[in-house]
Symmetry: C2
Subunit: 200 residues, 2 copies
């Protein structure tokens, strides 16, 4: 055995983290040795805390400490505007941008007939119930542009189109700062199709 037993064990735990191989795990474990006592205690406590405290928001499905998440609990936000996303990681992305003041709905998956995932297998029924309670609901569909994403977008559009719900999806187009010459043709085609008039 190359490492002392307790160090070997810690290396193996670090290796369970995404993107961390042998070399990095070793480096991280050795760095842990140089942590202050209080940081090691805090880190150790923090791991258990996260696992214990974080549940899913009973309204939108986002991560929450307690029954509902901080976004659903925030009265300053527009609760009539719901951004529909595939998983909770998108919430963090939107919140980092900081320009969205509505709420979210986490589908926790996408419809995928090929994988036997139907509308009942994702968090859709609760969205329908949520929307029914709203006076002037607006849905922003922010799902990726794969077959599964498009299928789910179309399905949701169909559910709500007769119910006086305003529905939009994120725009497709050229990423800011991208070189047009290096863009894939599908994106370029979409950008052409969705072109925006700028003349008076």
């Amino acid at each position: 055995m190359i490492y002392p037993a307790s160090l070997e064990k810690l290396i193996n735990y670090y290796k369970k983290l995404p993107g961390i191989g042998e070399k990095n795990a070793e480096r991280m474990a050795l760095a842990t040795l140089n942590f202050k006592e209080e940081d090691v205690d805090g880190f150790s406590e923090s791991l258990k805390d996260v696992k214990e405290k974080i549940k899913k928001c009973s309204i939108c499905g986002h991560l929450a400490e307690g029954e509902i998440c901080s976004i659903c609990a925030d009265e300053a936000r527009d609760h009539n505007m719901i951004c529909v996303i595939e998983d909770y990681k998108s919430v963090f992305s939107f919140e980092k941008v900081g320009n969205y003041h509505g709420v979210y709905h986490v589908l926790n998956g996408l419809i995928s007939p090929a994988d036997n995932i139907g509308p009942d297998n994702i968090n859709l029924a609760s969205l329908v119930k949520r929307v029914e309670k709203l006076k002037k609901p607006e849905l922003i569909l922010a799902l990726k542009s794969t077959v599964e994403g498009e299928t789910t977008t179309l399905y949701i559009k169909k559910i709500f189109e007769k119910k006086d719900v305003m529905i939009s999806r994120l725009s497709y187009g050229i990423p800011m700062g991208a070189e047009i010459d290096y863009l894939d043709i599908i994106t370029l085609d979409k950008a052409l199709e969705d072109r925006k008039k700028i003349s008076e």
Copy 2:
């Protein structure tokens, strides 16, 4: 606040690890949420364990669980052959190679007059004492080829040269598999100087 409090805290601890930025720390914290309960407990325990149990070997200065390290405690190893290294990470490198059966001595630094680090500031006195107790001591100096490394190598050579101690250093030369065309000139010069006769 974008993240739930406990998650934010864990992200900040992950960020203390070497080479881990915001994005990776977030990814790691979210992955932790999907760990099995027992893994989180084990991970949490392991962090404290490493900090508590791992000390320095009283003989060689390498990491040890207990008074002396597993290498110094191993009677099958050649205790007359001591490989002198800058820090304990080198032990792991040599042990991975697996061809060295002597023991080690961790200097915990290198002589560096520019940084006010003299021979008394590194773990040298204990090396002298160790060597004095041996019958046919052999020292292998495995220090890097910087000014500090060379200074320390020369200093150690001077201490022991009148004491009937066999001293060697690692060879310099072309790394295995390297393209000669891309090699830095200093390495190439060393490789030329240290060339090895292969004719009969």
